[in-house]
């Protein structure tokens, strides 16, 4: 047993214990913070109103509430959507748009006279069917899946859209 190997042994023990402490503290907190990555995506259908609330040919703003919000979520549990009732029936009856401009996410504004969605941030413009009419947006407005059940219109809650969904 010489002095050097004893020192090396002790320094390795100390480093290993330090790493151990970091690990047992770090792993739970890491799991706690990363938990949202592993939660199942929400895809519930939520009602937004009666079909008769949406006159043919018009586009209306509706707000839907997260079906299971945190108790303190307040207004952040609400999401706004633009619902367009088309002339057709069946699978062509509605178009449901996220209000967020596909450029950088500002809420677009429906101009009924011009039949255009205008964005207040960088001047993006979309036609009534969500396609780009002008300005910087790279793609049409994001659409939500919807279903008609009886006389109710249901809309699927979806994760925040990303470019990959394009």
């Amino acid at each position: 047993m010489n002095e050097i190997s004893r020192r090396r042994f002790l320094s390795r023990i100390t480093l290993a214990l330090t790493a151990f402490i970091g690990g047992i503290v770090g792993l739970p907190i890491l799991g706690y913070l990363l938990a949202p990555l592993f939660s199942a995506p929400t895809d519930e259908l939520v009602p937004v109103g009666a079909i008769t609330d949406f006159p043919v040919g018009e586009t209306k703003l509706v707000s839907v509430r997260d079906p299971s919000p945190l108790a303190w979520a307040g207004q952040t549990a609400d999401t706004a959507l633009w619902v367009r009732r088309r002339e057709q029936s069946g699978p062509q009856m509605f178009q449901v748009f996220n209000v967020n401009c596909t450029h950088l996410g500002c809420p677009v504004n429906w101009q009924a006279g011009a039949k255009l969605f205008l964005c207040p941030c960088h001047g993006g413009v979309f036609y009534s069917d969500g396609t780009v009419a002008g300005g910087p947006p790279p793609r049409p407005l994001f659409e939500r899946e919807w279903e008609v059940s009886g006389d109710r219109l249901l809309v699927r809650q979806q994760p925040l859209p990303t470019v990959k969904q394009g």
């Binding site: 979520a73 706004a80 809420p107 207040p120 941030c121 960088h122 002008g134 994760p159 925040l160």
Partner: protein, 444 residues
């Protein structure tokens, strides 16, 4: 009488006792009295106050931030009410919130000024490269970087919700300030350990092999930082902090808008003034280059910052011998100022509300032209096009369009759009289109 004199000496004796028992002479005072080059006695010393002024404002931000955290509730259903209370109910709440607000603006200005001064003085060169690197990290630490892949992580779920605000709050009050504290510690350690750079002299380049000896000689003839140089830092820090407090006391906290509401679509989102230039870039560049600019521009800027001391560690320090360095400072500042002005004016934003034509335009029109002028407003043409000063500036001014384009050209342009303009064939009947064109041909 003598008892009174004894009592008068008491404070001095307490200070001496504390200094001795806590060994302050060897620690705090030794650091404070570290030598600095004698040139700092001259007016050029005023250029060296920007770092400590930044530090003073940062400390003020921590103090006001802790104060605000005692009242602010970072939960979506209460945050707005607690902000209202701070601004209108709590005594001096508006002043404290105002100090935090104006302090943030002062931080941005001072950090950029400090960085510019250090760069133009060549103070980042050998042996102070690490000072510059920690300083660049400090700049980075004040900006939140939110990548696309982080969206889900940061909003703590698939949508913005109750957990989003608390995550941003904890990042803002714990993570980023902790990083800043650590970096300031390193930065200041290096400033004292390496010694402050001497004012640059044109024609006297940095020569790494001989620099340390030359600098050590300079310090032998130097002056103690405390108090010979520190008084200037104190003056500058006091002036800056007083300016922040004065602005807060006179102007108060910025007005609270309506509570944040995801279902409110008539928002007019604008960033704080220091990001208006970036906001403008994103409106003005061609859409195809957007991904490159959003990711690439900040990446390029920070890569450049980090490479500065590694690529140019020696050579001339004085700005008069470094024309490229002057350009590297002037061009971004000019571009930033121009973009900020553009961001304030935002001519690319359609005027969403309240567009009407002045009476001088609508008077004396024929019946079809009058109907056309109504359509110009109701079909939101006025949101993007101005006539006689009324309307948006997104598209061309149409005050004299009748002398530029004939009926057929106007009809084609409105129906099919093009050049950034939407096609209106689907939202105008042929008769309406006819009336609108009739109105526009009267604009000469």
């Amino acid at each position: 009488m003598s008892r009174l004199r004894e009592a008068g000496k008491l404070p001095g004796r307490v200070v001496t006792w504390l200094g001795e028992r806590f060994e302050l002479e060897d620690s705090v005072m030794a650091v404070l009295r570290h030598p600095v080059p004698r040139e700092l006695e001259r007016p050029v010393g005023w250029w060296y106050v920007l770092g400590s002024a930044t530090l003073a404002v940062f400390i003020a931000q921590v103090v006001t931030g802790v104060g605000l955290a005692m009242t602010y509730v970072p939960a979506p259903n209460s945050a707005y009410d607690s902000l209202q209370f701070i601004s209108h109910g709590a005594s001096l709440g508006a002043v404290v919130r105002g100090m935090h607000y104006f302090g943030a603006g002062a931080m941005v200005i001072l950090v950029l000024a400090h960085m510019t001064q250090v760069y133009l003085f060549g103070a980042f060169k050998f042996p102070r490269e690490a000072n510059w690197l920690t300083g660049s990290l400090l700049l980075l630490a004040t900006l939140a970087i939110i990548g696309e892949w982080l969206t889900r992580l940061i909003v703590a779920g698939n949508n913005v919700g109750g957990a989003t605000l608390t995550r941003f709050y904890a990042t803002h009050v714990f993570l980023i300030p902790a990083a800043i504290f650590g970096l300031i510690g390193m930065h200041l350690y290096l400033v004292v350990k390496r010694g402050i750079s001497e004012p640059p002299v044109a024609g006297l380049p940095v020569d790494p092999p001989s620099y340390r000896a030359r600098y050590a000689e300079m310090l032998r003839r130097g002056i103690p930082f405390w108090p010979d140089s520190a008084w200037r830092d104190a003056v500058a820090a006091a002036a800056v902090v007083a300016a922040v407090v004065l602005l807060a006391a006179i102007l108060g906290a910025p007005d609270l808008n309506k509570p944040a509401d995801p279902t409110n679509v008539v928002a007019d989102p604008r960033p704080d003034w220091y990001f208006l230039g970036y906001f403008a870039i994103l409106a003005l560049i061609p859409p195809a280059t957007e991904a490159v600019v959003i990711v690439g521009l900040p990446l390029f800027a920070f890569t450049f910052l980090f490479l500065v001391p590694l690529l140019w560690p020696d050579g001339e320090r004085h700005w008069s011998r470094r024309p490229a360095a002057i350009a590297a400072v002037a061009l971004p500042f000019i571009a930033y100022a121009a973009l900020t002005v553009a961001g304030i004016e935002s001519p690319w934003v359609p005027k969403l509300e309240g567009g009407t034509l002045p009476g001088s335009v609508t008077q004396g029109l024929t019946e079809p032209a009058r109907r056309g002028s109504d359509l110009f407003v109701s079909k939101a043409c006025v949101a993007c096009h101005a006539i006689e000063g009324a309307g948006g500036r997104r598209g061309p001014d149409l005050s004299h369009v009748g002398s530029r384009l004939n009926r057929d050209q106007l009809t084609a342009r409105i129906a099919t759009g093009g050049g950034g303009m939407p096609a209106f064939a689907g939202s105008l009947t042929p008769n309406e289109l006819d009336d609108l064109v009739t109105f526009l041909t009267t604009r000469r």
